[in-house]
Symmetry: D2
Subunit: 390 residues, 4 copies
């Protein structure tokens, strides 16, 4: 019999639902060294938390996340709350000896992220693990992209162009949900979806951004107040309030390997729903990916004869592809949620193996530093702003 890894999760909104789906199913598809148990869900509203726990498959409901730290049957704390509470929960959980997986962005400020990274480093010395949940790394096509780069298929990286395009707040009557409030969300498109493309670009290339030149904008400066606090939707409230985060952020960057990169995160790309796109050009080949077609990776092998070269659509559903073999036969694609399943699978394996999972809190801190540099550059006439590379 395998040992059990009890999980306590904080938050049950969008991210709570995806993480629950991961914990509920990971054991049916992967052969894990520990058996995950969905022990307890923590939330502030007792009734809503009870209902969510029942719906999502958690055995218990807690109304204070600190209670999770007291439970002996919880070994893992999974943080799915808005960014303003990440640091407090994560630091306390690690101190309590719980392994921590924390949603991205790691924090709302560099200071918080530094505190969390320091806590994670200290915890690692005691065998306690911490991971930041950049789920897109675990999309099979993205993991394959990383493998291709690591194998040298692209040669020297010259260009990265990364975009994360959504359109859910194009309507000026869309309400002022917490994701549009700086005190809760830290930033807007930048931290929410820009953080993903920063991590994806650094992960796939294996390089770091050395500095950025940025521009941000808030197109709709005032919005109707939301009736209830929610990240993505809300009933109707009364009156309006100021949008205190960016609607869109554009920045260019330089990479440690000498390449140039461009980034764009926006919630105003009408018709683009969840277009996390990245294209990478190297001296030997290129890659392109768009999450709206998440089971495809486009690869150009420049070493082939020109007469037969071209971008090829690799359907990333083969047994030889990352994660894919655990699921269905070739051509039977995966969905958004599967990356979360892969995430907790890798996290459990790292815990059992006593190794540091990736992305680490240090990786999360590095992304946080880029986010801060973007804001600084945007406030300083787009001047190139270096990022400390750790």
């Amino acid at each position: 019999m395998r040992p059990v890894a009890g999980v306590g999760m904080v938050g049950y909104a969008f991210m709570g639902r995806t993480h629950s789906q991961a914990w509920r199913n990971v054991d049916a598809f992967f052969d894990l060294p520990l058996r995950p148990a969905m022990v307890a869900l923590a939330g502030r509203n007792p009734e809503a938390t009870e209902q969510a726990a029942a719906k999502l498959g958690w055995a218990h409901a807690e109304t204070d996340w600190k209670r999770l730290l007291d439970r002996d049957d919880v070994q893992i704390v999974d943080i799915c709350t808005p960014g303003d509470s990440h640091a407090e929960i994560a630091v306390a959980a690690l101190a309590a000896g719980k392994h921590v997986i924390c949603e991205k962005p790691l924090a709302n400020t560099v200071a918080e992220a530094e505190e969390m990274a320091a806590a994670a480093r200290a915890a690692a010395g005691r065998g306690v693990r911490a991971m930041v949940a950049f789920n897109y790394r675990r999309v099979p096509a993205v993991a394959l992209a990383r493998r291709f780069v690591a194998e040298g298929k692209l040669g020297q990286i010259r260009h990265v162009r990364a975009q994360y395009l959504q359109d859910w707040i194009v309507d000026p009557d869309f309400p002022l949900v917490w994701r549009l409030q700086k005190d809760k969300a830290g930033s807007g498109a930048l931290g929410d979806i820009g953080a993903h493309i920063i991590d994806t670009a650094q992960y796939v290339t294996g390089e770091r951004l050395t500095g950025v030149s940025a521009m941000t904008e808030t197109f709709v400066k005032e919005r109707p107040l939301a009736a209830a606090s929610s990240g993505l939707s809300a009933g109707s409230g009364t009156g309006t309030g100021p949008v205190t985060v960016d609607d869109a952020a554009l920045f260019t960057a330089r990479l440690t390997g000498g390449g140039l990169a461009s980034f764009e995160a926006t919630r105003f790309a009408t018709g683009r729903k969840n277009a996390l796109r990245i294209e990478i050009n190297g001296s030997l080949g290129s890659l392109a990916f768009d999450f709206e077609s998440m089971n495809e990776l486009w690869f150009h092998d420049h070493t082939l004869d020109d007469a037969e070269a071209g971008f090829r659509r690799v359907l990333v559903t083969e047994p030889g592809h990352p994660y894919a073999g655990a699921w269905w036969p070739p051509g039977h694609g995966l969905g958004y949620e599967h990356a979360f399943t892969h995430e907790v699978k890798d996290f459990i394996e790292a815990i059992a193996a006593g190794t540091d999972p990736a992305p680490s809190f240090d990786d999360g801190l590095q992304v946080q530093r880029v986010l801060a540099a973007v804001e600084q550059s945007a406030a300083d006439d787009s001047r190139f702003t270096p990022v400390e590379v750790s």
Copy 2:
């Protein structure tokens, strides 16, 4: 508290895994009138069945499917075995008062399918429900295609071109698994994947095939014996044996509404992994779908001004799309397995509502008749062979 609907499943190979995934998750995403319980899994090999039950989340394991019929905690029997056992299990289960969901094709012969359909009709009189599991109907894009046709967006249907293209047996050394043996599988590509495009074409158009002209072929006539019986893969055995089913089947057809259709099912379309494709042209518009891009439906509205008309890629992930709203925000695509979750959701709702679920066993029988007509035409110089339309 909602009443419980206990499920007993027979078979735990490819389809058993997809159905388990559906039963395990449906309640977390949909608000169901009955709470599904994964009561028991039946299989012949005790040890393997035990392991599968544990892995897939079934509470009990049985080594005889008839035991499921005796259990009071089982109200639903889910048949995931090869086609040669469907009739026996389904008829017995319905007689025992169990609701039945049965994998496709409904049976290996028209005679078996007729017996099953008669049993289903009789059972319906007693409030016992039967459904054949043509999962692709529940892919949101396919369900949306049906909706568009039903709303009249296509006008009169002129053309259907349907293909189901795979390539998993292109290698002549691929072994003689049960799906390549007529006594187990009934037919080859025709019944396995051809059945899907027949059902999909009839479902989306709301019409029936009135006759077919067909051609079939077995490209590789002898294959290595498989070490162990499996549908999709096998270890190495010794010696070779004859392939007794079709590798590919092509047929043209006429539709009840006067349109023309073409169908192709093959396991030799190198590079196509699971390309269930359908394109429909009507007097007012057209639709195109390819399962390899399963979250997209392409729609051409011919009533628009020519200068701005064109096939549009509808990303079928909006709240207003079939099933999609239960999952994730727009642009966060679903995968292969979700159609099965939708299937059991609709089945449970039909049971609770006391209505007949679709596709019914009569629908399955109709597909079986088309399959038989295809084989008859192929054996008779491709002569046009009428299909009885019920």
Copy 3:
């Protein structure tokens, strides 16, 4: 100084315009052994022919095509008339010692095509050349497809699926132009566009169709009379008349190499404008092409590792691609008309070299036999109808 090859062309409608464009430009892009001269254009209406000659760049206008045969400054006769006049003109021109390039389909009946092919064979003995103008062979992507097959990149051909989809007569008020009249056009979609996909399939695979099973349909049986005779458009007339050709033709076929093929030619594929599509699956690889994206050839190399294989988009604009190097730098695509330029380039080179150009009138005859077999099978309950393979 190069010798001059004087050209006399018959007909100045759609095909007359494309051929004029070819003759006008071929010398500016290719280094030809003969200098083509646009000597004379023949048409029945004196005024219209004069105007067309001036517009299209022909030095003289003739009102009787037979006058072209008398001219010493004409060495090449280019036939761009409807199919009912091909045989008479071609046979006379060859007898007069003129090289002949004739639009497709070669004729309206097998008997006419046989007469023409015999005349071409006889003429070849006298150094007089004949070519049938299947222009799509000279699209660079199609020529590259042929090269890939000839090089063995596809292995044994298992499947061909060819479609030629248009939608210009979906509107039942579209008038009864000559292309919808059997006495002028021979057949409808079948001979007009079906002939193209038959030739393309045979050319690219290097195989022949050995027999067909077919189905045809005329969806709109009566149409408004056209005010003036034209193939593609017309002013308004009075009254209606019967459509005497097929609107759509579907057929399956067997290939000399043992593969299966399907063909569809229709003018009722709403939203598809000129979608000549062909997909070929072989034991080692696959190809796909759609003329609506005419500068792309999709190639799947099945000998690659599964983890990096996929259909690749070869942009057929490289110097190493057929014809492409004569035009613009890579990525600067060609258009519809360029295939005609390539056609006359190859024709001129064959004339100068004293070799038989391809496709020959025998090739045109073979296509004609397939067209006849399709009509025969369609009239005989879709029964498989062998095609004589020469």
Copy 4:
């Protein structure tokens, strides 16, 4: 009889060939008020110029461009030389009363461009016209994009992302052709292809860039000397020399309407051959275009119901589309060169009508100012650099 417009062209390399093709064919497809005559081609090398004139269809060859200004049979001077000679030729030609069409970028410096724009303004007062040849404006899909924006289909423009991606100098052994030398070319990817996307973005949106933040890079700093001076290719020479222009330029920008834009011009995007791409997001809809699929414009109409909205592929070959009706039936696409034909057609019509053609030299000057601002910002830590908007 229409009056004749005699044309004298300077230069016969890549652009000379495209312009010749335009002059040779424009009259066969469009009904022009003036009949263009290809009078004389000017080049420095007598023999090569003679040969080019014969090949391309020019009646005479001149070895000094100034001779064109003396010819009474020349009314139009077409400048197809590298940027360093544009100002001298254009100013002189306008002074001589010749209408001038000049390749882009208008000049190598803002000062030259200002001189030219002033000359053009002065000439206009005398009925003499000047046009800068941003050919991509006349691709039907780009012209249609402009029409859609002008009709209000996009609403308020929020985002532009424009890229021009090529890969022809990825190989470090590619020689030091004139396009890689600052004294001849002015700049590298920036002026050569960056100029195109600046013009395209401004043209399609109808807005202007108000300032930029830029980053440029030269990846390969030393290259083999070219044997002979050419822009795109060269034989082998001896030794190496420094690349004095940018290989890639990235910049972000703000638009007069409040939107944000990003631009990237590079010759190091491996596998991208001539990918001029632009995507525009507005409050009511979006557009996307990629020149590698030049006959397609993608349009998203955000005012449709979400359930049926999506990016639609408008095949820009309909009679109702800009320029398309003059050519072939729907679905029969155009190629790269056709935009040049449209360009001279519009130029001739403007001359005959006595109106100023677009893009004017002032438009070319505006692009030049953006190019200068990009270089200035890149040299100043990417600091936002305003552009004077005229």
